[in-house]
């Protein structure tokens, strides 16, 4: 467990030395969501209707943007090799890296979402549901994305390939995440959506680090 926390600390320290990489994903999220009203028109009812979908798709793409770098730097400089040979289980270190990725890339999106939701005329309770759904959904995106990042590590055209592999797997998160906000706006109960998101998160937290570890070992061979 200490090794996991040490990995988180290390990756956050590294990110703080290279702030631009973290900020890119956040700016991307802000810009993409702001482009939609410009493209569609400022009609409040329409914007309110499409807001959950747009915010979720933008969060998906922003997460995707940072994924290729998740293991690439460690792979190039050889620290990943050292992790694979460390007495600490590689799965634990990988879980730490995924957690750090979420803290650096997912959590800022969760915190920014309510502010951006205001652009779409969402009311306070809808913003609350949006934040809650993203809070459950963004770790799921990091977990699933890590598998894709490990599979495409060091592969030609890795970035585009990563999108092709990962985006179809993001669909359930998108459906229930955006669905929760839509259901709330329509006055329906959102408990089902959120508990399904939570269930998927638990499932992914269990399997994704394991699959990622297996893929990393293959990539290191």
């Amino acid at each position: 467990m200490n090794a996991l926390l040490a990995t988180v600390r290390r990756d956050i320290l590294l990110a703080l030395r290279r702030k631009s990489e973290v900020l890119t994903a956040v700016f991307f999220f802000v810009i993409v969501t702001s482009l939609f009203p410009l493209g569609i028109g400022p009609e409040p009812l329409l914007l309110k209707k499409i807001a959950p979908g747009i915010l979720w798709v933008a969060a998906l793409l922003a997460t995707l943007l940072g994924l290729p770098r998740l293991f690439a730097a460690d792979h190039v400089d050889g620290t990943l090799e050292q992790m694979a040979l460390s007495p600490s289980p590689l799965g634990l270190l990988v879980a730490g890296k995924i957690l750090a990725h979420w803290l650096l890339c997912g959590l800022p999106l969760v915190l920014l979402a309510p502010v951006l939701g205001l652009q779409f005329d969402l009311d306070a309770s809808a913003l609350g549901i949006l934040t809650l759904a993203l809070l459950l959904g963004t770790p799921l995106l990091s977990l699933i994305g890590a598998i894709g990042a490990a599979l495409t590590l060091g592969v030609r055209g890795g970035g585009v390939l990563l999108a092709l592999l990962v985006l179809p797997l993001y669909i359930p998160a998108l459906i229930f995440g955006a669905g929760a906000v839509e259901a709330h706006i329509a006055g329906l109960d959102v408990g089902g959506h959120l508990s399904l998101l939570a269930a998927m998160l638990v499932l992914a937290a269990f399997f994704a680090p394991w699959a990622t570890t297996a893929a990393l070992r293959v990539a290191l061979e």
């Binding site: 599979l151 179809p168 990539a219």
Partner: protein
Amino acid sequence: MGNHGRFEGCIGVRQSIIHWFRFASPQSFYPLAGRMIPWFWAAAAISGIAGLWISFFVAPTDAQQGEGYRIIFVHVPASWMSMFIYLVMAFWAGLGLALNTRVSAMMAQALAPTGALMAALSLLTGAFWGKPMWGAWWVWDARLTSELILFFLYLGFMALQAAIDDPRRADKAGAILALVGVVNIPIIYFSVKWWNTLHQGSTINLTKAPSMAQTMLWGMLLMAFAFWMYSIAVALTRVRAIILERERHTEWVKHAVE
């Protein structure tokens, strides 16, 4: 000569581990596949002709959808096969990953294009059905949407394998992806289904459409059997090519192709 020694060493070890699994070695599977292919083609042709005859001349006109429903005789088998092939592909890939048998990984690789073709056919025929029934080539129906995602999963699998140069690494990475896909397919399917019922329920459903007459069911099953046999025959042909491509530097390949 170094290759020769290593090859025999591998075969020796492998055969002692799984001696009952005779076609575990490419060397013995290559001729075996060659002998099996004509039989699968024959089965595909016979059941295909019988199925087509039932689809067009025996099965009655549907009261609700007229003659248009006859599309199900290719749509449903294609959809079934696209899902079934993914499972089979993941099974072989997983087996290859667990037991390190080369043929099973090659089999997974050979099945992927056929599975993708079945998914594409399912989408195409779905569109041909949708246009007269729903008035649009594409409708976000739960089944069509799931099929589209399945098609993407096949493309991802093939793209990943194509992007990795080292075949052994490509096999393993592909296997992990296929297994991740298998876990996700039911989740994706149910989420899409839920999403669909939440937004708009399509009134006429392609697959459940006609109150299935006995003859229709038989036609569909025969066609599905024909598609199945076809898939095996094509996949075996492809796996033979893959075996030769991968093993071209071994001694047995030099003697096998006289």
